[in-house]
Symmetry: C2
Subunit: 244 residues, 2 copies
Amino acid sequence: MSAPDSSPAFKPLYQQIKILITQSLISGEWRPGEAIPSEIELANRYNVSQGTVRKAINELADENLLIRHQGKGTFVASHTEERRKFHFMRIAPDQGRQVYPDGELLACRRGKADSVMARLLEINTGATLVVVTRVMKVEGRPLAWEEVRLPAALFKGLNASRINEFSCRLYSMFESAYGVRILQVAEQIKAVPAPAEAAQVLGVPEHSPLLNIDRLAYTFGDKPVEWRRTLCDTREFHYMNKIV
Amino acid sequence: MSAPDSSPAFKPLYQQIKILITQSLISGEWRPGEAIPSEIELANRYNVSQGTVRKAINELADENLLIRHQGKGTFVASHTEERRKFHFMRIAPDQGRQVYPDGELLACRRGKADSVMARLLEINTGATLVVVTRVMKVEGRPLAWEEVRLPAALFKGLNASRINEFSCRLYSMFESAYGVRILQVAEQIKAVPAPAEAAQVLGVPEHSPLLNIDRLAYTFGDKPVEWRRTLCDTREFHYMNKIV
DNA sequence: GAGTGGTCTAGACCACTCA
DNA sequence: GAGTGGTCTAGACCACTCA
């Protein structure tokens, strides 16, 4: 490849390399959990300097697509890793250590996307959705009620038993069973009065305050692939966020 | 300076440069809004290569302490800039464009830190606090009730008229009037029943759901300098968060 | 000891800003 | 045109991992 020029759509070399690496991630040439080739190998492959490859890899590592380990290599991020478990999970107990709640499936059924859901998931109105409802529990006590909506076209054959196989670790299942990797999520958070169903499941009075977290989850190319609503009893838990 | 060695407490050169630059930021050698010296000048000053200075500056820019502008220079971040206004402000309307609420001061009084507040703010129990309460409004309609607690030792002479001078832009005032720069915040979010005072101010029924945001704000060296509780009416607004 | 990523340097050239 | 940060290269050496 050549040095940058002054063409109208100038794009630095390292950004072009980033795109090439991302394509190999999408195509599955390098799979979650595996090592990608070393910087030197990639530099030869793309015919650029090691420094340029390094800059591309560093940005992908900043975006949590790759994980670098000095002395070992660079690895494709995977939701099955322990360290990813809490990445998109921001609910923590007020007292004591962070715990990962257990999921208990309530239902897995089919539905149709209304116009709002269609716009959010960038699918057609009326397209088939997989709708999963579940309760999240900590030490047997219900913490949150959750409804997850997925475009059925992306998750063919998804059913209750498959969810239970992965013990409700949905993003891990998306990755392993459907090759769908969740890379980022956008959340909108409100305080709402508990609706009847959630109140009953959580064992709180109807209309008592619950934390409502609406999430859109995205895969490569900022493509939305999951919508979910979490209704969380925050009397002894909280949602945590750091802003730098 | 010399190349890295294998001493027990090995610290890369660029991290040492980061510390030196940070010290100049703390000391006020370079003030908010001003440009710092160019990379070449700093490389000469610290007797390292431009690449090493660059790496230090890039990390400080990633942490939002500095702002780089190609062709112009590198500037010290300031809360008085328009672009910082929404940085720590995560409440947005469900419909329409992001707006910045107006603050309306309710009270500015003195209090004493109880043991919980003392632990959070890393001060002594019984130390004097400045306690500010206010309402945030959008187009005249109350959106949130807020209580802010500050160590009085850091904010000498703070009173209602000074807050009003800065039209309730607290972080801008901290920076300009007290040299206290807020660099990061940690928030814990819950859904709570509206307490009497907030319910009255916000014009919502007592015990109706409000979003409760407890925030600790930190300056250099991860030193906490502000605690605040925001009680927000989220019927037409939400708290937004992106996780990558 | 071989292989990986991490740091550091020196130097070239580019894109952008401003006078 | 001078000055800034941004990209890219080639090469040296270091810290870390694993056999």
